[in-house]
């Protein structure tokens, strides 16, 4: 998937042409309970921590990221121009000297990610919530970009 890296979404056009394919693939996976269509393709797109899901509904955009074990004060969220940045540091405190590890899979470290938003996002109206290790940013849409019902006379 070179193309995906070259045109690093979402800077180039908001509607990711691959998103629909990805969604279909996941749907197939779900239906067939296996790896359908997947020839060693990474599911991840930007390759930058944290992985995010972006969704929209009528009035808002939502950005969600899984950040288990992070407290609100370890996160720095900034909105500037047309993008939102999420950065911070995940810390895993030491457990003392007298412990013997059997598994050590969780990782600590710094991260920083910028997510571009489409024209219609109102960055004056960003809310952030952290619940059960999932960060949710709620971004309002500007009036002009909200869908309007057109009545027929």
């Amino acid at each position: 998937m070179t193309a995906r890296r070259l045109f690093d979404f979402p800077g180039m056009g908001w509607r990711n042409p691959f998103a629909e394919l990805d969604r279909m693939q996941r749907e197939m996976d779900r239906l067939f309970g296996g790896k359908f269509f997947r020839a060693g393709l990474p599911e991840l797109q930007a390759g930058v921590f944290p992985a995010v899901n972006v969704t929209e509904e009528k009035d808002h955009y939502y950005i969600r990221a899984e950040l288990p074990g992070m407290a609100a004060e370890d996160l720095d969220i900034q909105a500037a121009g047309n993008s939102v940045s999420i950065s911070g540091e995940r810390k895993i405190s030491g457990e003392g000297d007298n412990v013997r590890y059997h598994r050590r899979e969780r990782e600590a470290g710094r991260f920083s990610r910028v997510i571009n938003l489409p024209e219609g996002a109102n960055l004056e109206d960003v809310k952030a919530g952290l619940k059960n290790g999932v960060l949710t940013l709620t971004i309002g849409k500007s009036e002009a970009s909200k869908p309007r019902q057109i009545s027929i006379n």
Binding site: N16, R30, A71, R103, A108
Partner: protein, 133 residues
């Protein structure tokens, strides 16, 4: 642990169903740290999106099973624009080599991280066994 490194994205590990599922959905393997001291075994598991009510910890015959249902947090009518991770269940099993004092197990879920403390059974003091003739 003093210097901090840049975190890399790791794809969540999807499991082929641990057992036959009655409800469809993806199953992931949570990342864990497991360490042991003289007195206890501690399991730390990353389970984002899991609330205490949806987490189930089971220990029977030395097999520890973690099962949880993560909520995606999605509301109705939301459409995907970019989707880099999926949510579903978490499932993982471990075999413990030590005898655990079941009555003193402590589990805490904080910001999507489970901390499970499994105290070892204290070694029984040697005692003299009377032989009856």
């Amino acid at each position: 642990m003093s210097e901090s490194k840049e975190l890399q994205v790791r794809e969540k590990q999807a499991l082929d169903s641990p057992a036959e599922q009655t409800r469809p959905g993806l199953v992931f393997k949570p990342l864990v740290d497991i360490f042991e001291t003289d007195k206890e075994i501690v399991v730390l598991a990353d389970m984002p999106g899991v609330s205490p009510e949806s987490l189930d910890v089971d220990l029977r015959e030395d097999i520890l099973t973690l099962t949880a249902e993560a909520s995606s947090g999605r509301g109705e009518g939301e459409q995907d624009i970019l989707s880099e991770f999926a949510t579903g269940k978490f499932y993982r099993q471990f075999t413990l080599s030590e005898v655990i004092d079941q009555s003193k197990i402590e589990a805490k879920l904080d910001n999507g991280v489970l901390r499970l403390v499994l105290p070892k059974v204290e070694k029984a003091a040697p005692r003299k066994i009377q032989i009856n003739s």
